[in-house]
């Protein structure tokens, strides 16, 4: 597999643009009546993409630091006049997110075969375009390029919700688009201000530039981050915050999410939950935190308060939902609150948990949406009250749903537990109050998921419409089993995941808090001292095993 070691092969670009090429092929060479061929091509393209992306992990060197932190690098001039380069490179965080993307992309396409009956050609073309946008966003290491992919993604998602969505699809689609766009244009302004700070400065605001060559290279900004004056950092962070927090989404910018999730077709919901929501958190880790350490510290309390509100409020709202998809959508608000809380603990433990929880949430919530989609396809309703006693009629479905729900609520042995536990450790290290609220969120999470399970699967099977439901067919099983396998894998052996993200997380911690490890080494207060071994010699798998 020399192509992964060979620097002259742009493997990341290949993985990014294969879906685009597949989409163009379908547009130009397949007639729209030929649905079978369209489905087959789309699936094959997504499968090739997935298969190509797996060896990335094998050839990825998790010990790479410094210049080796970002690997598989490819770079050439794109718009030399303003210093834009086409730079692709990934670290461990991006690597896992890309794998998540290619996997859920394949599953999303495969799961749509029977759900989508209208305008199939456009549907699969848009899914493939979306795939290119998402992978590109995670690969891009140039602000301009990143922004381009970030925005390009919106258009296919808009159409996916708007054409194949539920009853209020038009409203949900435009709301999704406008919310995300408003945030990202503010982020663009922050990027521009950074750009000028790095080069000529902004004389009219008395901001002296550093006089470097104009560039959009993200790593350059990682290096000059600590030179940015605090006031400017505050405003720049605010710009990034709007861009990313809307995407995450954090309370109070979350209102587009229940609408978009609920109205989107199943595959759209899966991709939204699994990948799109991760982009906000990814943006914080990749850009906002390392570039603006001071801004991060200035705004840590507001962000954490919003995260905690998101956790608790999201969970409480989830409790009262009558619509299954909406329930899962609000549970995402709560789970993403965890991700943000762990991240803003700003210690290795919290950040590691945060990153892992991003992956976990993608797998578990993606699976939940898939499962709800399966039942929706049979009954065309998502109302919890319409169901009851399904466990008798669909035992396999009920089992898989249970495993997924347990993974989502954080049962030890499944993936959710590892992420939430690590986040709790990180948060507790920072403040017991944060951890307390987070724990409350976990309890509420168990409540709403188990209550949902109870209402849908247990009790009498009294609705006559439910009495002839078929259990999962082979295709549905095939879409859901890989996700279940991942849940168990991460739940039992998360070591390889933690190893992969260790270096990038340490890098972010050092950028945002350069003294962190120095403080640990020095004699310190008791709380920190007990945590010190975990941070200095992090072998998380064993550590969590100890705890258990």
């Amino acid at each position: 597999m020399g192509i992964y070691n060979n620097p002259s092969v742009p493997i990341l670009s290949i993985i990014t643009f294969i879906p685009l090429i597949g989409a163009l092929f379908i547009v130009f060479f397949v007639r729209k009546e030929n649905a079978t061929a369209i489905k087959a091509i789309a699936t094959i393209v997504a499968a090739i993409d997935f298969v190509l992306s797996i060896p990335l992990w094998i050839y990825f060197d998790p010990k790479g630091t410094g210049a080796r932190l970002f690997q598989f690098k490819e770079s050439f001039d794109w718009i030399p006049a303003i210093g834009v380069k086409y730079t692709f490179a990934i670290d461990g965080i991006a690597l896992l997110l890309i794998l998540l993307t290619t996997m859920t992309g394949l599953i999303a396409i495969y799961s749509s075969f029977s759900a989508i009956t209208q305008r199939q050609k456009e549907y699969y073309v848009l899914l493939l375009l979306l795939q290119t946008g998402m992978i590109g966003t995670f690969c891009a290491l140039d602000f301009f390029l990143f922004y381009v992919f970030w925005e390009v993604m919106l258009v296919p998602m808009y159409f996916l919700i708007g054409i194949w969505g539920g009853e209020r699809r038009l409203y949900a689609a435009i709301k999704f688009f406008i919310y995300t766009l408003s945030g990202s244009v503010l982020m663009l302004l922050s990027i521009l201000a950074l750009y000028f700070f790095n080069s000529d400065g902004i004389p009219f605001l008395n901001i002296k530039g550093l006089g470097h060559t104009p560039t959009f290279d993200v790593l350059q900004y990682h290096n000059i981050g600590h030179l940015i004056p605090p006031t400017l950092q505050f405003w720049l962070f605010l710009g990034f915050f709007f861009g990313f927090a809307i995407k995450v989404p954090m309370f109070p910018f979350h209102t587009w999410l229940p609408d978009a999730h609920t109205e989107a077709p199943t595959a759209g919901s899966v991709i939204l939950a699994a990948v799109l929501l991760k982009m906000g958190a990814y943006g914080f880790i990749r850009f906002a935190l390392p570039i603006l350490p001071d801004g991060t510290r200035q705004l840590i309390i507001p962000v954490v308060v919003l995260s905690i509100i998101g956790i608790v409020y999201g969970a409480l709202v989830t409790l009262v939902q009558k619509d299954m998809k909406k329930l899962i959508a609000y549970s995402s608000v709560s789970h993403l609150g965890f991700v943000m809380l762990g991240m803003f603990a700003l210690n290795p433990m919290g950040l590691r948990g945060s990153v892992l929880q991003m992956i976990n949430h993608g797998i578990s919530t993606g699976a939940l949406f898939l499962l709800v989609g399966i039942i929706y396809e049979r009954r065309h309703t998502r109302m919890i009250a319409e169901y009851g006693g399904l466990a008798k009629q669909m035992p396999m479905y009920a089992t898989l749903f249970l495993i997924t729900a347990l993974s989502s609520l954080g049962l030890p042995g499944l993936n959710g537990f590892i992420g939430e536990f690590t986040i709790l450790l990180g948060a507790a290290n920072r403040s017991m109050v944060w951890a307390g609220f987070a724990a409350l969120g976990i309890v509420l999470g168990a409540a709403y998921l188990l209550w949902l399970y109870q209402r849908v699967f247990w009790g009498p099977l009294d609705n006559p419409k439910n009495q002839n439901l078929l259990d999962l067919n082979r295709r549905e099983l095939l879409t859901i089993l890989p996700l279940i396998a991942c849940m168990v894998w991460i739940g039992i052996a998360p070591g390889i995941f933690f190893d992969t993200i260790k270096e990038p997380v340490d890098y972010v911690v050092l950028k945002v808090d350069p003294q962190y490890y120095a403080r640990l080494a020095a004699p310190a207060p008791e709380v920190v001292a007990t945590k010190a071994p975990a941070a200095v010699k992090p072998a998380p798998a064993e550590r969590i095993a100890e705890v258990r």
Binding site: A81, I82, V148, E151, V155, I174, F177, L189, F196, F204
Partner: protein
């Protein structure tokens, strides 16, 4: 008058002669005998009109091609001078004007192609129409070349007078006549205001040459007459570009005028006004930048806010585009306010992007036209993706470009303008600008919703080769410059260099 003078103005001379000859077209191609009377009468036999109309189109396109070639040839003949000014420093054939002249010719050629079907169906006479377009183009080229306020003013008037007539070309239609009347009266007032401003500036500076004015101004301190003159000059130009609060004519004229003329007004005419705006403010007025930039910033902010918010509720696509064009005028003003090389490049790039995306949209609107005013409601676009997949896709790209979403060229344009605003310290203005471009997506996507998300009518669409050509060119420009903007940017850097340098000399290098 020297040889150099002739070379500098040769394209305009050729164009003027050609446009005059177009008036004589009917005598050479044998028009029905009846209509030897005054111009603008509907021709009675449609078949005959179609014949003469077709050849008029080809003659006009040929004339435009010759003009474009002569611009290129003359610029190389006049080489060796960064600025070849002629007629006592009134006209310049510099890189800046060549850029705009070629853009105008391209836009005008597309307007001619757009007009073809419309003229055939409406049975109004064609030769005068094309001749007037030719004179309008001539005015625009004068405007781009003018380095003397009177020369600019004369060019502006030539363009405006032709536009007034063209806006009323549906002379039997109330809407069209009303539009022409409004446009004429308001336009005449604004021209007068502009002229008054020029005279005040002349009174203070004792010259109308932009370079002389700049030189004199750099020695002056603020005084009321001069400020008043600059304000009036700015007001007149704001009227021409349709910026708030001088925008009220825009929606009515855009809706009332025949659609190809609306296309012309919203692209070529606007681009010409911005060429003048940029040249005058960058070359002549940098010394007083601090005095006028804040006023202009308020104008830009209002334009963006009013234009984009008012566009939300429109049901007629021409009216919606009229309001959106007010918003776009606001964006381009950012480039003027910034007064930097980034800003000037932004103006040039955005003008190109905006002109082509808009022409593409107008081509689509014309393709939807069934009778004179039909096909203008957003509802008429329902289900277009089934009837005309290419057009629906192209329309989405044009709208995304206007909204500034990558990978279309609009993003590159917006990037430059926003960057210029940030660089100039106008953070608040940039925030308004980006939020308003998010708002603009809302109403642009109402068209997208109609095309893709609603079920359609079965009505035919009037597709034709010339419309497809315009749509294809516009789409190619929108996508190619969106994905590979480097050639456009380097061209723009060359073209704007001289003007940017003049500004920087007086304004402190930025």
């Amino acid at each position: 008058m020297s040889w150099n003078d002739v070379v500098v103005l040769l394209p305009e001379i050729i164009l003027t002669i050609g446009a005059s000859l177009l008036l004589l077209g009917p005598f050479f191609t044998g028009r029905p005998k009846r209509s030897t009377s005054m111009s603008l009468h509907p021709v009675e036999e449609p078949a005959a009109a179609a014949n003469t109309g077709a050849s008029a189109k080809w003659w006009t396109l040929a004339l435009l091609a010759i003009t474009a070639i002569s611009v290129v040839v003359c610029s190389s003949l006049a080489e060796g001078m960064t600025l070849s000014a002629s007629f006592s420093q009134m006209f310049a054939l510099d890189a800046f004007s060549i850029f705009f002249k070629l853009l105008f010719v391209a836009a005008m050629a597309m307007v001619v192609l757009l007009s073809d079907d419309f003229l055939r169906e409406s049975r109004y006479s064609t030769w005068e129409y094309y001749s007037l377009l030719g004179f309008a183009l001539c005015g625009m080229m004068f405007m781009a070349s003018g380095v003397h306020l009177i020369a600019i003013w004369v060019g502006l008037e030539l363009m405006s007078l032709s536009s007034y007539i063209l806006a009323g070309y549906y002379k039997n239609e109330e809407k069209s006549t009303e539009a022409a009347m409004k446009y004429f009266i308001l336009g005449a007032v604004s021209s007068a205001i502009l002229l008054y401003g020029l005279s005040l500036i002349y009174g203070v500076c004792a010259s109308l040459n932009l370079l002389d004015i700049a030189k004199v101004m750099s020695t002056l301190t603020t005084n009321n007459a001069l400020m008043f003159g600059i304000m009036l000059l700015g007001a007149g130009l704001c009227f021409k570009v349709g910026a708030v609060p001088f925008h009220v004519w825009t929606p009515d004229v855009y809706v009332g005028a025949p659609t190809p003329i609306t296309a012309f007004l919203s692209t070529g005419s606007k681009a010409a006004a911005f060429a003048v705006f940029a040249r005058v403010f960058y070359v002549a007025l940098p010394s007083f930048h601090l005095d006028w930039s804040n006023v202009l910033a308020v104008v830009a902010a209002l334009s963006m806010i009013v234009g984009n918010l008012a566009a939300i509720t429109q049901t007629n696509i021409k009216r919606m585009l009229a309001y959106s064009s007010i918003g776009h005028a606001g964006y381009i003003l950012l480039g003027i306010i910034a007064m930097s090389s980034t800003g000037l490049r932004g103006i040039l790039i955005y003008t190109v992007v905006y002109v082509f995306a808009n022409l593409g949209i107008w081509a689509t609107v014309l393709m939807m036209r069934r009778h004179e005013y039909a096909g203008e409601l957003i509802d008429d676009f329902d289900g277009l993706h089934k009837r005309a997949p290419f057009w629906a896709f192209a329309m989405v790209m044009f709208l995304l470009s206007l909204g500034g979403i990558p990978p279309t060229a609009g993003f590159i344009g917006k990037y430059y303008l926003f960057a210029a605003a940030i660089q100039a310290g106008y953070g608040w203005l940039a925030i308004i600008a980006v939020l308003m471009s998010a708002v603009s997506i809302f109403y642009y996507f109402r068209v997208v919703v109609a095309m893709y998300l609603r079920d359609g009518q079965d009505a035919e669409v009037a597709n034709s080769t010339s419309l497809q050509l315009v749509g294809g060119i516009a789409l190619a420009v929108t996508l190619i410059f969106g994905i590979l903007p480097a050639p456009l940017i380097s061209q723009v850097e060359q073209s704007s260099q001289w003007v940017a340098t003049r500004a920087a000399e007086l304004h402190g290098g930025r």
